[in-house]
């Protein structure tokens, strides 16, 4: 998958809040079909990078091009990019007043202008895929965290995105529910989806990632095309310290 053509180009992107700089002139390219895991300590800028790619945060300087569309101030460009890029959040963010089915069909109907029948059919296919077709008519609050996150993945996939962003998708879950979400993500990775995953699940990263990026203090300090090697023998001292802390904890 490392030979896919570039689908996201990030050039010299900087983002700060007051005196705090989350991204310090970060440049990186992501290729079609690639699964990239982004790791690093909290506040190192990994989530901010993800959020600039679909303009939930606007970069201060620098350039981002997604699937040939430049993320400038043109609202049409921003909406077009967002329609191609699915996002899964740490806190699921399902629409609490809508059923599972309505959560999934809303955007395809409004943005893609699909008929209700088509949107519903696609929604059930996706629910089948994440193993939740029996829960279509429930409200998010009636589901467990793991189930909610799987619905959130189905909701993002319903837009048939070219790229999926995962922002710590398992961090808010009870330990026994982490696996069911990782299983769905593993499946998605196998299907050839371009995935950018901010995660603390090192086992998942090691197994699924084509590339691992390590963030520290707003910079990419290490990048590896060989996750096995990266996890067993990282070269940057910050990555070494971080990974040993994590190993220590688990």
């Amino acid at each position: 998958m490392r030979d896919g053509k570039p689908i996201i180009t990030v050039e010299q992107v900087r983002k700060s809040w007051g005196a705090f700089t989350a991204l310090k002139d970060v440049s990186i390219t992501f290729r079609e079909g690639e699964v990239v895991c982004i790791i690093g300590p909290s506040g190192s800028g990994k989530s901010t990078l993800l959020r600039t790619i679909n303009r939930l945060e606007k970069q201060d300087t620098g350039r981002i091009v997604v699937d040939g569309i430049e993320l400038d101030n043109d609202l049409k460009h921003i909406d077009a990019v967002r329609a191609e890029v699915g996002m899964v959040f740490q806190s699921f963010n399902l629409f609490s007043h809508k059923t599972v089915l309505d959560n999934i069909t809303l955007a395809p109907r409004r943005v893609r202008k699909w008929s209700k029948e088509k949107a519903t059919q696609v929604a059930f296919e996706l629910l089948e895929r994440v193993g939740l077709s029996a829960h279509a008519h429930k409200y998010p609050a009636q589901l467990s965290g793991g189930q909610q996150q799987r619905v959130a993945i189905a909701r993002a996939l319903a837009m048939q995105p070219k790229i999926m962003l995962f922002d710590e998708p398992t961090s808010a879950l009870d330990p026994e529910m982490v696996n069911e979400v990782l299983l769905v993500m593993r499946d998605l990775a196998k299907s050839g989806m371009t995935m950018l995953v901010v995660t603390h699940e090192m086992g998942f990263a090691r197994e699924v990632a084509d590339r691992v990026i390590f963030f520290d203090h707003g910079n990419i300090v290490e990048e590896s095309d060989n996750p096995q090697q990266f996890f067993s023998n990282p070269s940057h001292p910050r990555a070494q310290a971080f990974l040993s802390q994590i190993k220590h904890a688990s």
Partner: protein, 250 residues
Amino acid sequence: MLNKLKDRDSLILVGSVFCLALILWLLALPLSWVPAPIGPAAHQFADAAITTIELTIWSGILGILLGVVAAIGKLSPIPPVRWIADLYVWVIRGTPLLLQILFFYGLSNTAPQLQAPEFWIGVIALSLNVGAYNAEVIRAGINAVARGQVEAARSLGLNSMYTFWDVVLPQAVRISLPPLANNLVALLKDSSLAYTIGVVELTMIYTRVQAESFQPVPVSITTGLVYLVLTTTFTQFASALERKLATGKR
């Protein structure tokens, strides 16, 4: 359990509307059994109760619409729109309702083109009044919708209009419902001030019957009891609606 509870709420919803209709239809009957001065005026009380409810329902509906518009205005990114909404809420909440009713009555008498039945002058003044209070409630409700809900909607490619109508407003209304219901009950009581411009509602009947009979105590107690019956059906309706709309929250 959940289904049973929801069914009970539906029953209360339908039941309270049915009760209100029944009360308005049959009110004259029990009142006619009461000795003078109430009995002979039973039909006047019954007709006036209908007028009071009509005033409340018309002003209530228009007041919600005004409240939504003013709340959106208050949150508008365009400064002049915000100023107009702020001015409206400031003036209405800072002056007595009685004065507002008298103002619109006076205004309608300044030119023949502005002439309108007292009932509709009352509706205009009451809905502008309750609209200002609703605006604050709905604005607070909009602000209380979790930020992640908006981010999820935007990340799916929904534009700001769809995000507002499909995601933010329904949740804001649900959050605002208890205080909105309070405002509606307050409106029912405030509608009594319309008697000053000649609307023949409950308080007007009080003044008439007590003036004829010189028995203010039994007449005011009767009027108060009719108001109590009406406000009670309203609060029952509102709390059942609130529980029903809270479904997704559980």
